[in-house]
Symmetry: C2
Subunit: 151 residues, 2 copies
DNA sequence: ATGGTAGATAGTAATCATTCCTAACAAGGA
DNA sequence: TCCTTGTTAGGAATGATTACTATCTACCAT
């Protein structure tokens, strides 16, 4: 998907993100890739056009774009490994507030299949479903906060 | 779920994992928790009974248990953050061989709901499905390798 | 178009999870 | 009980990410 500078500018404007050549390059690099690159992947790619760019700028730009909703961070749990001794097939409820995780067991979720078209060559060994949202405690906390601030 | 020392010993035996007091403590700590603790969480818990234990032992034990299949690492992508400029709802095919990621779009997957029972207080904002397996290239590679080794 | 200001950039240094290396140690079979 | 091989714990190394900060720049108001 080729993006013009103006398209990028418009998207940034729409989310109140300041436009710089580095930011445009980072966003373009990300938007034109079909995989899900790391910050370092993007750094290496953008550096070809901007040899002076620092990894720092890439990291900072990504957090800005993320907050603005222009970019998604694909993996919530990237910071640390998490382990589980429950070997039974199950799925997860991840709280975006406190990051606590609950298990969900449900046969319907266990039976999912990838749509056949296009992925025939991929051999599926397993799958997992993540639900993201807010747990009861975090919802209570948010409600109390907004009440105090004089809704 | 209370585990006796003998139950743990039996599980370790069954997978040819050498039993040590530290390992039993780490495994017990993990098995008795409902959330999905990090290595550090386990370290802090086990240290109460084994003040001399090192984080190192926890990490090493977890890799051993993981290889033995006694424990799962819940998040594949923990090593680095990955980003995506595609904001449309979609899901992922993750290759366990080369870690490449393909997008999957499918309305049936988009419509999943958590089973109502038990999780009523959790407010779901979104969800994502990950399929794990082997891509065409990695399957070819594996087939070639096993052919060469004189299947 | 210009100037001022808030925000962005790019270095360097710090942090933090995890891995590497290794000498002392212990599990478990003979 | 003894031997061998795998395990432990410490310290150092690695590698991704963040913090700090002086300089610079986008962009709004004039």
């Amino acid at each position: 998907m080729k993006l013009t500078q103006d398209q990028i500018r418009a998207r940034f404007r729409g989310r109140d993100v300041r436009m710089t050549p580095q930011r445009a390059a980072i966003y373009r690099a990300l938007a034109e890739r079909l995989d899900h690159p790391t910050a370092e992947d993007l750094y290496r790619q953008v550096r070809r056009a901007y040899p002076m760019i620092s990894p720092n700028t890439v990291y900072y730009t990504l957090t800005v774009l993320k907050q603005a909703g222009l970019v998604h961070e694909v993996n919530y749990w990237h910071d640390r490994s998490r382990f589980d001794a429950n070997l039974a097939l199950h799925h997860h409820l991840i709280c975006l507030g406190c990051r606590k995780i609950q298990d969900v067991t449900d046969i319907a979720l266990d039976r999912l299949k990838i749509p056949s078209h296009g992925h025939g060559a991929f051999e599926v060994m397993g799958h997992r479903v993540e639900f993201h949202g807010y747990c009861a405690a975090c919802r209570r906390r948010a409600r109390r906060r907004s009440a105090r601030s004089g809704h």
